[in-house]
Every structure is written in C-alpha cells, then in structure tokens.
C-alpha cells in the first residue's frame, strides 16, 4: 500500500502528551507515516507541517477544554494555504465540561472538520476511518 502521511499534534496551549504519544505509536504501527508536531502547537504549525510533508490528513487533539477557542478558523486557514483536500480529524475533550456530545460534534463538524471524536476514543476508530477516507 502507498504510504499516507498524517500530521499529528495537540493544539493551542494544551500540554496533554500521553494520548498523543499513544496515537503516534498506534498510527505508525498501522502503517502510516506520522509527522508528530507534539503538544502546544499553534494552528500555523499544523498547516506548515502539512504543506512541507504533503500530508493527506491532519489529526488534531484538544484535551484541555479550549478546543472551541483554539480551532476557530482552522478550516479557512487550510483552504487559504491550498490544503482544501487534506482530511481534518479532531478528537479529545473538546469543550469545557461534560456536555451533550451530539451538539459538540455538530459544532465542530460545522467548523469544517471531517470527523470529530469523543473523549476516550481508542486508536482503532481513527485508523479504520482513515483507511476508509483515504481509500486504503
């Protein structure tokens, strides 16, 4: 299979590193070329990394609750940067507090993310979805 490239990172002022480390491990094992920009990553770093590595997908984590603030305008910036076709996944504890998941999910889908994952997602889920979305 052709190797697909993923940019992985944790957005904003967020330092939760454990899920990121495990996702890197699992996605690599699943055969992807993983570019992990780690925690505390601003929107620009995701975009630059995606351009540089000609990535097929960007996987953003936001655990600490500021997902709404940190992800604002991300899709638009991707389009500006010519990354219209890059697939965007988002996961973690996206909002502050225990909120209705459907609403949260729709909020982020409307912001332009292709798939949005609830707290506690295991790596198997995005791996299966990536295979589908990237036609593997």
């Amino acid at each position: 299979m052709e190797e697909k490239t993923l940019v992985l990172g944790v957005i904003g002022s967020d330092v939760h590193a454990v899920g990121n480390r495990i996702l890197e491990e699992a996605l690599t094992k699943a055969g992807f070329n993983v570019v992990n920009i780690g925690v505390l990553a601003p929107q620009e770093d995701f975009i630059n990394a995606a351009i540089e590595t000609d990535a097929d997908a960007i996987l953003i984590s936001s655990l600490y609750g500021h997902g709404e603030l940190d992800c604002k305008g991300f899709k638009e910036k991707c389009i500006e940067a010519g990354l219209d076709n890059v697939i965007l996944y988002l996961g973690g504890n996206l909002v502050v507090g225990k909120q209705d998941w459907k609403k949260t999910k729709n909020k982020f889908l409307n912001m332009g993310f292709d798939r949005v994952y609830p707290p506690g997602t295991l790596p198997e889920a995005p791996i299966a979805d990536l295979k589908e979305d990237l036609g593997l």
Binding site: V15, A17, H66, V96
Partner: protein, 482 residues
C-alpha cells in the same frame, strides 16, 4: 542569568521584580508592603500554613478540590458551593491554561467570551487579569485558606498578584511546572524564575507572613514511579527552603497499589525531613493526589477510583488529599459533580481516620526500595552540580539522571518506561539513565518478569500502553485482553 542554589539578595530580587510587574497591566497594582499588612490581618482559618499545622498535629487528612472559572462572581459562588456542599477543608483557585502560558491577552478574550456566552469559556480562573483586587474579592468571600493551583512555567507575575491578593498557598516549582506543562522552556530558566517566586515568599516569611509552598507532586500523572516524583519533590523543597520558604507541602500522585502508595507517603515525609534538616523551622506536610491518570467515563466506576484514593490517603495519613470528580474523564466538572467527589472523599477520610496501615513486612520492603532509589538519584544530582543543587538539576536533566515519563518537554530525556508489576505497583521497565545500583535494577526487573510470565508476553511498550488505559477500563494492571 546565573543559576546557583543560593538565596537571592534583595537588590537582585527587586531588579527582576520591576520587569515582572510590567508583564501585564495589573502588575502595577501590587504593593508589597501593603500586602504584608493585608496578610497580617487575615484570620488564622484563612491561612494555609496555620490550618495545615493543626491537621498535621491532629493526624487529620484534609480535603481539597480543584476548581476555577473565568469570572469572579461565578468563581466565588463555585468555591462557596464546594465549601458548603462538598465540605472542602481547603480551597483552590485553579488557573486557566492561557494564564499558565502567560497568554494574558487570550485570557482577556476568554473572559469576554465567557461574559457573552454566559458560561465559562476558560478552564480556570485568570487571576492575573483579575488583578489584586479581584483576588481579594475571592479571599474575602470565603472562610477557608485559598491556594493557587496552576501549571505555569513562568509564574512570577501570577505569584505577585495572587499572593498580594490574599492567597496563602502557591503550588508548583521549576521542574514540576515545567516538564509536564511545557515544551520549549529550559529547566535553567524555570528554576531561575521559581527562585524568584520562592524568594518572594521568603520575603513575606521574613516579614512574619506565612505562605505555604507546594511542589506539584504527580508530574505527568501517568505511571510516575515514586522515586522519580520524590526526587523532584525534594529538590524543589530544598530550592524553596534556600530562598527562605518555611512552610512546605510535598506531594505524590496515587499509583493504585496500597502498599506502594502508603510506602510512598511515609518515605516522602521521612526523606524530606532528612534532606531538609539543614534548614531551620521548616513545617513539612504531605499531599496525596487521587489517581491523576485517565479515569473511567462511567460515574459509578469513577466514584470507585475516587474512593480508593481517599482511603489510601487516609491510611497513609497524608496531611491533605486532592480530590477528583465523577466527571474527570469527560470534562471540567460541574460544581455539583465536584462536591460529590468531595463528599465521597470526606466519608472515607472520616471513616478511616483512626485506622493505620502498619509498617511491617511488605510495606517496609517497599519503603526501603523507594528510599534507595530516591537517594541514588539525588546523590548523583548533587554530584553533577558539584554540590550545587540547582546546577545539578539542570545537568541531571541533560544527562537523563532526572527524567519524567510521558512529559512533553524537550528538555526531558524521555527514556523511562514505567509499567505495573503483578500487584499493580509501578516499576521501571526501562530506567533510562537513572543512576541505579544493580540491586535496584534487579528488583525492578524481577518484578516485571514475574508479570511477563503470568501474561505470557515479554514486558514491552505494549504493556505500558495497556497500563495507561487500565484504570479507565476498570482495572489496575493492564493485562492483555483475552
């Protein structure tokens, strides 16, 4: 910038201070001498060191939540609720993540959006933006001591404002609020910046004002072996004492194995007393953090995890316990969920307060091993610094002699792989460059081999991953799924 473990002279402190207070507009409202008077007027029940001293004397275990929201009135309401409905003994103000990264501009934005949305858009209380007066409003509205809980590598302005604002306890340290909380900040820098914080508090002490300091014990909260967190806690305690801090609470995050956890709290206290013996009049207390790693999403299961932390804290006789909530896995808790975690904890702390876990057999063995490991690390740190602890710490991180598992910082070697043994105690699967004796290495290895045999697999990173998920899935040890 020259880093040495030596008490700063006042001139140097004041020079740096001018810059610090300029970092955000609210800095100019800090008047140190006026603040000292303000503190002297605080009733004892609002002074952390006083309340902790009583608990220590009475062998009680006090309970404290984490909590913070964007706006002052809501924050007061939240804390009042936790005091009343949660029976919290000690109160926190958890600071939002923008403030922690010194992004006061974004914090300001968060405050505004919170006003507009009618709910907190920040994950904590932006104390710097609210300024001295804002903090005092909080302090004056409540009848228990308040502590700043954050995760801020450069926490100087926050310390100036919050302490002048009447907070009597300040969490963090140059290692514990850097390595788990930052990516690009050098240890040298944060040790230096935290010397400032400690010097500030030392100054208050000199004027007769007691401000408690609490290094952040659990670090990344994820399978941290006790000897790693003990080493860091003791280093930060020593660095603080050198700057004149007198009231110190050392912390430890629950691992989940009762024997290891009790041994950890006992050995932390004993080791710290030994190492701090050179400083006079230190009031040393301990804090036990309920499980800091991934939680189960189901609330009933989460109550189980919370209870086990509460029980262990009481059996170990920690001076206080930091409480999780049934919402932990999902998001910042509502005030109701927060109070529930507190009430569960209080029930257990009360039921167990007169029970002891006796230091015999396995417990002694475990304590002895933690002591050995910790001393081997600390001795090498001092060696590396030619006797200077601050220098030694910087070099130890470079050399991987100090190393924290799963930390985001690039100044951390990241060579450690911890995993649970068959009884759920955390052991070193890979001890990286920690300067351990053959005996220690063998002990750890044997424990993990025993588990490996049991599970019919070689100890490996997969074991570590399984352990990270385990509690969230209702187990302690991440046995392979059958």
């Amino acid at each position: 910038m020259k880093l040495k473990n030596k008490r700063w002279n006042l001139d140097k402190f004041k020079e740096v201070r001018e810059e610090v207070l300029k970092q955000w507009s609210t800095g100019e409202d800090v008047d140190l001498e006026e603040a000292i008077e303000y503190h002297k007027d605080l009733p004892k029940k609002k002074v952390m060191a006083e309340v902790l001293a009583i608990a220590k004397e009475e062998k009680a275990t006090l309970i404290q939540p984490r909590a913070g929201v964007a706006l002052i009135d809501e924050h007061i309401e939240l804390l009042k609720f936790l005091r009343k409905e949660g029976q919290a003994d000690l109160l926190p103000s958890t600071i939002d993540s923008y403030t922690r990264q010194n992004n006061y501009q974004e914090a300001e934005q968060g405050i505004k959006e919170s006003r507009n949305e009618g709910r907190s858009m920040l994950n904590g209380f932006p104390a710097v933006n609210h300024g001295v007066d804002g903090c005092r409003k909080v302090v004056e509205a409540l009848d228990a001591p308040l502590q700043v809980r954050h995760g801020t590598p450069d926490a100087r302005l926050l310390a100036e404002i919050a302490i002048a604002g009447g907070f009597t306890d300040y969490e963090g340290g140059g290692i514990s609020y850097n390595i788990p909380y930052a990516k690009d900040v050098s240890i040298k820098q944060t040790l230096y910046d935290w010397q400032y914080v400690d010097r500030l508090i030392g100054y208050y002490e000199e004027q007769g004002v007691k401000i408690n300091r609490e290094p952040f014990g659990p670090l990344t909260g994820t399978l941290v072996p006790p000897s790693v967190s003990h080493s860091i806690a003791i280093i930060e305690g020593l660095l603080a004492a050198e700057q004149g801090v007198k009231s110190i609470t050392l912390g430890y995050g629950q691992c989940g194995n009762l024997v290891q956890d009790v041994a950890a709290i006992h050995s932390l206290k004993e080791l710290a007393e030994e190492y701090l013996a050179e400083y006079d009049d230190i009031m040393l207390t301990t804090v036990f953090h309920q499980w800091m790693g991934g939680f189960p999403q189901d609330e009933a299961q989460a109550f189980g995890v919370i209870s086990w932390g509460a029980a262990t804290a009481a059996l170990a006789n920690a001076t206080k316990v930091i409480v999780k909530t049934p919402h932990e896995a999902l998001g910042v808790p509502t005030k109701e969920a927060n109070a529930q975690g507190l009430r569960t904890t209080k029930q257990l702390v009360n039921m167990l307060k007169d029970q002891q876990f006796v230091a015999k057999g396995l417990l002694e063995e475990e304590k002895e091993m933690i002591r050995k490991e910790t001393k081997q690390i600390l001795n090498r740190v001092l060696e590396l610094g030619d006797g200077d602890l601050a220098q030694g710490t910087v070099r130890a991180f470079e050399a991987g002699v100090l190393d924290i598992p799963f930390a985001p910082s690039k100044y951390n070697a990241g060579n450690l792989l911890p995993a649970r043994d068959n009884n759920g105690a955390i052991r070193y699967l890979n001890h990286g460059n920690l300067p351990f004796s053959e005996e220690v290495i063998k002990f750890n290895k044997e424990r993990l081999e025993e588990r490996g045999r049991d599970e019919e697999r070689e100890p490996s990173f997969q074991m570590v991953i399984d352990d990270i998920y385990a509690i969230g899935k209702g187990m302690l040890v991440g046995k392979p799924r059958s």
